[in-house]
């Protein structure tokens, strides 16, 4: 029987090169993917794609998806799925539209109300999953249809038969809160940049890019906040623990059920944010809003390194996963390829990402 002396260095350990360390980061796959996609489009696409307006062009859909994907990523790390986020976008959009148009509430009331409403739906989802012990896949699949159907029915009730609720734009005109959720940020800065010749302008002298679309700022802010929560707060540790092993986590005193229900609520709130932004942008809401977004969000999260089994992943990864998504959707229009290749591309990316993540997981856990 031997006692190892405390100062002894384990002779079986090789010093780890920087590259190998990087290999163990969950977001590596997504970053590598971004680089590959950039190289691909740099070779095949019109150079306009990587001009400022081109970048804004693909970052806008990336941001709208990304807000959902980060919520989905946190939930996946916490060990659950939410297939109802796409329908939640439509449902929250309906609620928001009704608040603004039908009830004529100002944004300062409508927006918090929409978030509270979405959080409640998320809590219902979460409670059913936790209390019944059913897989969240099935429960939220049910809600995918329930919420989509409710959105349709609700829209018809609110409009008297139409599946589109118009007039949001006129109602919110001049509301002081509107610029935080719609349009472009920093128009003054871009005007100044254009005047000084730093950015491209139209012949009239107006900048081609009038500002940064607010959803991009929300997207970046949410990615940073989520990363901070995951890596630097006890709540982050609880999320990883809940997803890693429910029994082990609760035996160690992690409030697993509370964590999971909060994550369902957070995901629903992300959907509500996307709903508010897109409804205000379009000026109307309809029942197809957010259609199939749940799959795209989960794909972005998986490309970002989230394991389907939970307990592993990163918000930064989902951030880059969404950017890949935006680049592919928009980038193909800059190339000679048929745009419908997009779906093939997406499926292929998903498959590669899952294989890659699996390999990474084995490395991390040291499985052989």
């Amino acid at each position: 029987m031997s006692e190892t002396t405390p100062e002894a260095v384990d002779e079986r350990l090789k010093s780890e090169p920087f590259f190998a360390k990087m290999m163990k980061r969950p977001e590596l796959g997504a970053i590598a993917g971004v680089i590959l996609v950039i190289i691909f489009f740099a070779l095949t696409a019109d150079s306009a794609m990587f001009s400022l307006s081109g970048v804004i062009n693909f970052m806008t859909p990336a941001a709208q998806l990304g807000i959902l994907a980060i919520g989905a990523a946190l939930l996946m790390i916490g060990g659950e799925f939410d297939l109802s986020i796409g329908s939640m976008v439509a449902f929250a959009g309906l609620f928001f539209g009704v608040c603004v148009v039908t009830w004529g509430l100002p944004l300062i009331i409508s927006i918090p109300l929409t978030f509270v409403f979405a959080a409640c739906v998320g809590a219902v989802n979460g409670n059913i999953v936790i209390r019944s012990g059913l897989p969240s896949f099935i429960v939220t699949l049910a809600f995918l249809f329930i919420l989509r159907g409710l959105s349709l029915v609700g829209l018809k009730m609110a409009t008297g038969g139409s599946t589109q609720l118009r007039g949001v734009r006129d109602t919110i005109e001049g509301d002081w809160l509107a610029p935080f959720f719609s349009g472009d940020a920093f128009p003054g800065l871009f005007l100044w940049l254009a005047d000084n010749g730093f950015v491209a302008t139209f012949k009239s002298g107006a900048p081609k890019v009038p500002g940064i679309p607010v959803e991009i700022l929300w997207f970046i802010a949410i990615a940073l906040a989520a990363t901070y929560i995951l890596l630097r707060t006890p709540a982050g540790n609880w999320i990883f623990a809940s997803g890693g092993d429910t029994t082990a986590a609760s035996n160690s005193g992690v409030p697993v059920n509370r964590v999971k229900i909060s994550l369902f609520m957070l995901t629903a709130c992300c959907a509500a944010l996307v709903a508010i932004i897109t409804v205000m942008d379009a000026g109307s809401t309809d029942a197809r809003r957010g259609f199939q977004k749940e799959f795209e969000a989960i794909i972005a999260a998986v490309i970002g390194g989230c394991l389907l089994t939970g307990g592993y992943g990163s918000a930064i990864g989902a951030f880059f996963g969404s950017i890949i998504f935006g680049m592919v959707v928009i980038g193909l229009t800059y190339t000679d390829f048929d745009q419908d290749w997009f779906q093939v591309f997406l499926g292929g990316m998903l498959l590669i990402a899952v294989l890659f993540n699996n390999a990474i997981r084995k490395r991390v856990t040291g499985e052989r």
């Binding site: 031997s2 350990l13 623990a241 890693g244 992690v254 307990g311």
Partner: protein, 273 residues
Amino acid sequence: MTDDSKFHHGDPTAHIHPVVEMKNIEKHFGNIIALAGVSFDVKPGECHCLLGDNGAGKSTFIKTMSGVHKPTKGEIFFEGKPMNFNTPRDAMEAGIATVFQDLAMIPLMSVTRNFFMGREPTKGKGLGKRFDTKFANEVCVEEMRKMGINLRGPDQAVGTLSGGERQTVAIARAVYFGAKILILDEPTSALGVRQTSNVLATIDKVRRQGIGVVFISHNVRHALAVGDRFTVLNRGKTLGTAVRGEITPEQLQDLMAGGQELASLEGSLGGTV
């Protein structure tokens, strides 16, 4: 492993009061009598081994001790006072830490994150309140070093540790969070020879810190290597407690098996069990 190892052995004498004392514990599940009068106590700084074959009631007993089950009959005293734990959480906060066989470890998470899981140290206030990773990493590396394990880094995933090392993380965690009694549920059952000795060495280190260790095992050799006292559980009853040196491995083995049957078996196996 010989009867006499180089481990320090506590000298549990009558004047030291036990931290936990359990008297005539009975536990019934419906018509099944899992425990039929078990008496057991642990003193600070000793390693009390609870031996028993499969189905003897070891698991039920430790679950009673750690607050998972409430005894049907019998009394439990904690530091001299009658205790009544409603949840494992209560027992944990009082200082009874249990390291179950599944260890409550998450392989994909780093050692530090596992170490502080559910009890993360924080710094800052209000919205700035955050997980103090620097402090957590330092503590984790230091505590593991005290137990004789040098981590590659605090961010090393638990999945890359060996079974014995994981066991040690679980023990170090319990000790760091102020355990007075450490219950180890078959800590060596799935380990190789070398890892077993490391875990046994860890148990010895824990005992030296004045913590009472309850070591559950069905392996007589492992028990004899570190144990100060031995209690054998058979068919839900204690068959008595022996002090180290008063009992031979053979006697213990026989007690565990309930006597007769094994004696004849052992003859044909040449004393290898």
